[in-house]
Symmetry: C2
Subunit: 181 residues, 2 copies
């Protein structure tokens, strides 16, 4: 393993990052590898990850690939070295944008599509109803519409944050502070 200047702070951070990941639906090992690469100044290879986090080759391989799929780390080749190295995105803002884009695609999009289908379904079902049943269906329709509107707004908000983020953290911070007043 190359000199990586690991210390107590790094260990603490890596452990906590992994613990937190579980409550966000991400596997502990994957998050630990991500934290390890985020802190590291130079790319690491599979063996480095195995040694450092005490995981098997299989686990390291699978989790590294998954991180590459998410776009949070990239493969790095070195001349005269057959090993593959991995390097993390170090720009926190870019990291956030990547995570948001992926989660939107994988988790928000499916629910949005489902709600749209629900709205279509309920609209058809509603036609045959009268009186109380009709009123109930109207309320359900509104519930669906509310969530859908909310999802749309969230999407807008994250787009805004991402575009503002490109300018840098500082300007956005100032802008938000001004708005919050």
């Amino acid at each position: 393993m190359p000199e990586t200047g690991f210390n107590g702070a790094d260990n603490l951070f890596i452990r906590r990052w992994g613990e937190m990941a579980v409550s966000w639906g991400i596997s502990r090992t994957m998050a630990e590898i991500h934290a390890l690469l985020y802190l590291n100044t130079c790319p690491l290879c599979t063996d480095d990850v195995m040694d450092r986090l005490a995981v098997s080759r299989g686990s390291a391989s699978v989790n590294l690939r998954e991180l590459v799929n998410w776009g949070l780390i990239v493969r790095v080749h070195r001349r005269g070295d057959r090993k593959e190295y991995f390097e993390a995105e170090h720009d926190v803002w870019q990291m956030f944008e990547t995570i948001m884009r992926e989660r939107r695609r994988r988790e928000i999009q499916p629910i949005v599509e489902t709600i749209q289908r629900c709205l279509t379904m309920i609209d058809q079902e509603r036609r045959g109803l009268r009186g109380k049943a009709r009123a109930e269906a109207d309320i359900h329709q509104k519930r669906f519409a509310d969530i859908l509107e909310f999802c749309g707004l969230m999407t807008t908000m994250f787009d805004l944050v991402n575009s503002a983020g490109r300018v840098g953290l500082k300007p956005l911070g100032k802008m938000l502070a001004r708005l919050a007043k």
Copy 2:
């Protein structure tokens, strides 16, 4: 079970809401119960939930309590009825604020505290270092500081969204649309 006007759309939504929950670190049953109560116009009791979602009494009890702890549903008592009923928050905006507040407390706060500790630790460790090791420590320090700044900004943003949310979805939507240009 009281008349609840369930239909295909509701079933579809409840199922999908439960599926998505898993990728957000929430148990499927808990999310399904939440979806069930969110859609329902009248409060439901434990037996209603058991019948509707085909879960055991124990599971219904535990998950309902957890939802109450999160503040997403409330207990409702009815005169002359010993059963306890449960009703969900129906305002999507309020729901979002509740979820964000809870997740911040349970998941963001711990990582923020850890990073602050990391910064203190690395600052102490750094004193004894010179040359390359010192430079490396400086970079690590910056990495920690970046995440911390990012967390602070996210917090500000959600506060803003929440306060703007109280005005209603529409005004915020317009405001964001204007900013996004």
